[in-house]
């Protein structure tokens, strides 16, 4: 049941709603938040250290653990693959449906879509391609408000925004260009502060002026490179009008990274599709789903939580936890199983691409900062049911712990007993069987990659003429890189993020460079 007292800016009870880090607090609250920040790194490092220690002192026990981890990995892969396969079927089904026809008998004329596109130094080409996709779908662009949210810090940001507005603005219900001032108190440079500023500009300059009810404005918060598929707005609208509790729901499409997938190197493609597949799996586990990257949320809901947090790196997932705390745990993400497409990492050189992938994933895995926030909110909000507090905390802690530790255990630390287990261990049957059994489990797990490869081939856009034919083959064999990418681009950046949080060396926002080549 919706609390009728919740209107506008959050009440004082929710003073912690936009806490970003321990340094925002004082006294015992600061100590508590600091402890929560230390927790994920502490758990991961303790696990890895325990493995090293056991490999020295109790190699037999360490070997047992490695076998258990490898078996667990196999079963987890099997379990998640079932979710992935189902979501893939659902995705294809949803892409084949005429959502406009489905909306025919569902009142939806009162709804307006707001597309918010925050950008920094992305060029006209990137933005215009995204904006064109909003115009060419089945949804009437005259029921879309486009907000181009530029940064004052960017030398050409406003200029690019204005050019887009001049060129395409007339086709939308309204198009505004906002300029997020540099150095506003409480802001860190990044997407969250820009979006938040633009949202307030939207409210005062468009929604209030036009008399659009906040409940009727559905905000899609995109990246500058987010290209929508033709039925995105219709599909989203259908989910909005059929939603049981719109005011307490966000909507999550499936993020694909197809815009430049044929130009991206193998490593980048594997990482891109791995991220997409993870989101597809989560779409079938909505109780574990938080918003990620491009997502949609009713404006009223955003307004009640004072928009996105302006002082965090992971604003896309944090907004979900803001809303979860703001509405006392009564909040959910509706997976719409319909794609949007963004850019895969593709810099000018392979080395630069590798660096960019690492930095991007460090930013994403910095989502571990949400753990401290969730635990702190749980402590300070007695209205959130205990069951929800427990589930949210356990799911997030386990998620970031396993992200860091499992690949490192399976592909590195878990094999230590073979090297440092000592002569007595080396002469045991267990020592000889450990690699055979662990490898057996891992190899069987890798069969799941066949599913991944097959799905990839169905999700990639048509191969452009200028791309050599063999690259289609590499779309399959690229999956052999998964053990490497799991360690180098998931575990290690994840561990770095958690160590940074542990030691209070907070990460700033890093804008993923966008570049596309069409040679």
């Amino acid at each position: 049941m919706m609390n009728p007292n919740i209107h506008g800016a959050p009440p004082e009870d929710y003073w912690y709603l936009h806490v970003a880090r321990a340094t925002d607090l004082t006294g015992s609250k600061r100590i508590l938040y600091r402890a929560f920040e230390i927790l994920p790194g502490f758990l991961s490092i303790t696990t890895l250290a325990l493995f090293v220690l056991l490999s020295f002192s109790q190699p037999v026990f360490a070997a047992y653990l490695t076998i258990v981890f490898a078996a667990y990995w196999l079963f987890k892969t099997a379990y998640l693959s079932m979710h992935l396969r189902h979501n893939f079927k659902r995705l294809r089904h949803n892409m084949s449906i005429d959502w406009m026809a489905l909306l025919h008998d569902k009142p939806h004329d009162h709804l307006v879509h707001v597309v918010m596109v925050p950008f920094y130094d992305e060029g006209y080409e990137i933005l215009s391609e995204s904006v064109r996709s909003y115009l060419t779908g089945t949804w009437d662009p005259k029921k879309i408000i486009l907000v181009l949210a530029s940064e004052e810090r960017s030398p050409n940001g406003k200029e690019v925004g204005e050019r887009i507005r001049r060129e395409f603005g007339e086709k939308f219900l309204e198009c505004i260009v906002t300029v997020h001032p540099a150095g506003l108190p409480g802001d860190i440079p990044g997407k969250g502060s820009n979006l938040s500023f633009a949202a307030e500009q939207l409210r005062t300059h468009v929604l209030d002026v036009r008399g659009i009810r906040y409940e009727d404005a559905i905000v899609s918060a995109f990246d500058s490179d987010t290209v929508v598929y033709p039925q995105y707005f219709a599909c989203l609208t259908w989910h909005v009008v059929t939603c049981e509790n719109l005011a307490r729901s966000s909507f999550q499409p499936v993020p694909l990274f197809n815009n430049n997938i044929w130009q991206a190197p193998m490593l980048s493609r594997v990482m891109a599709y791995s991220s997409s597949f993870w989101q597809m799996i989560q779409q079938e586990r909505p109780e574990k789903l938080a918003t990620f990257s491009s997502h949609a949320v009713p404006f009223k809901t955003l307004y009640d939580a004072d928009y996105w947090q302006r002082n965090v790196v992971s604003e896309d997932s944090r907004i979900f936890w803001n809303l979860f705390a703001r509405f006392d745990g009564d909040y959910r993400v509706i997976p719409i199983a319909y794609p949007v497409s963004m850019d895969a990492n593709a810099a000018g050189s392979l080395w630069q691409t590798i660096k960019n992938i690492y930095k991007q994933h460090r930013r994403w895995t910095y989502g571990a900062e949400n753990i401290a926030y969730i635990l702190f909110a749980c402590v300070n909000n007695p209205r959130i049911p205990f069951r929800k507090k427990l589930r949210a905390s356990v799911v997030q802690i386990e998620g970031f712990w396993s992200l860091v530790t499992h690949p490192l255990v399976l592909f590195a630390v878990g094999w230590l007993p073979l090297f440092i287990g000592g002569a007595a261990f080396h002469s045991t049957v267990l020592s000889y069987n450990l690699p055979l059994i662990a490898r057996g489990f891992l190899t069987t797990s890798m069969l799941g990659l066949i599913v991944s490869a097959a799905i990839t081939l169905h999700l990639i856009p048509e191969k452009p003429e200028y791309v050599p034919r063999f690259r289609r083959t590499t779309m399959v064999i690229q999956w052999l890189l998964v053990p490497l990418t799991m360690v180098v681009f998931s575990s290690i950046p994840g561990l770095e993020s958690q160590i940074r949080l542990m030691f209070g060396r907070y990460l700033g926002f890093w804008v993923t460079p966008k570049s596309r080549t069409h040679d």
Partner: protein
Amino acid sequence: MQPLSSAVRRTYLIVLSVFFVALIPLVILYAEGWRFSPELGMYKTGGVFITVPYTDVTVTLQGEEIGTTGFLQRTFYIDDLAPATYVIRASREGYYPWERMVVVEPKIVTDTRVLLAPLEIERTQLVLSGTSTGMRIVTSDTLATYRILFATSTTASSTIPVDMQDGVGLFIDGGNLIARWIDEDRPVPSNFCVRPLSCVTEILLERDPNPVLSASFFAGGVLYRIKDSGIFFAEMDARPTPRIVRIDTDPVSDYRIIDGMLIVKEGSAYFHLDL
């Protein structure tokens, strides 16, 4: 199309969890060497690990072929062996057959290393000039160096090893040749163990009426010279039956290992022997 229902997901989870919980103890028992047979019930097994540092060697266990080594395959791990004594044989054309009796104990892997000695050793005489087959021209400086090296000799002692390698010292004690494990920080290797859990620290390599004059590690085995008998190449292993091959029958010949090569001196002539 509906999302995966909670009931279906729960079913997946329960089925997989049951499999996981049931599988783990079985896998760990298997990894530890436990096996099951209707006749014996649950029983513990051991294994044998054979290292073969040569290609084209056929290896058998109890007369049953395990495999032949190649460019990539240089080791064999045979598990599921009931505790007992096993005979391993290795053969390669042109080489003495190799045989080892190993004792397999429960949950332990016994390892052994194949050492092959050629049936006919290739001898190349080192000369200053000449064109015959079986000769190789070397410089006068090289021969001069050899003369100096053969003129010097090591003093045999029961406490000072004549050669050391990987924690093993070769001692000439009372004319006998003994391999002794001298690294106190590490457990003795398997070739010092008659059975996996019964090891010694000394292996008597040679006890001849004539005294051993010199000894060195070479090509995975031990080279030594016995007074008035010649030069021998032997395997260092406490388990039956280590092979000993006489590689030079000239009773007064001597040898040195120079730059990794085995050089033998017979009278005033120098030969390179290829083991």
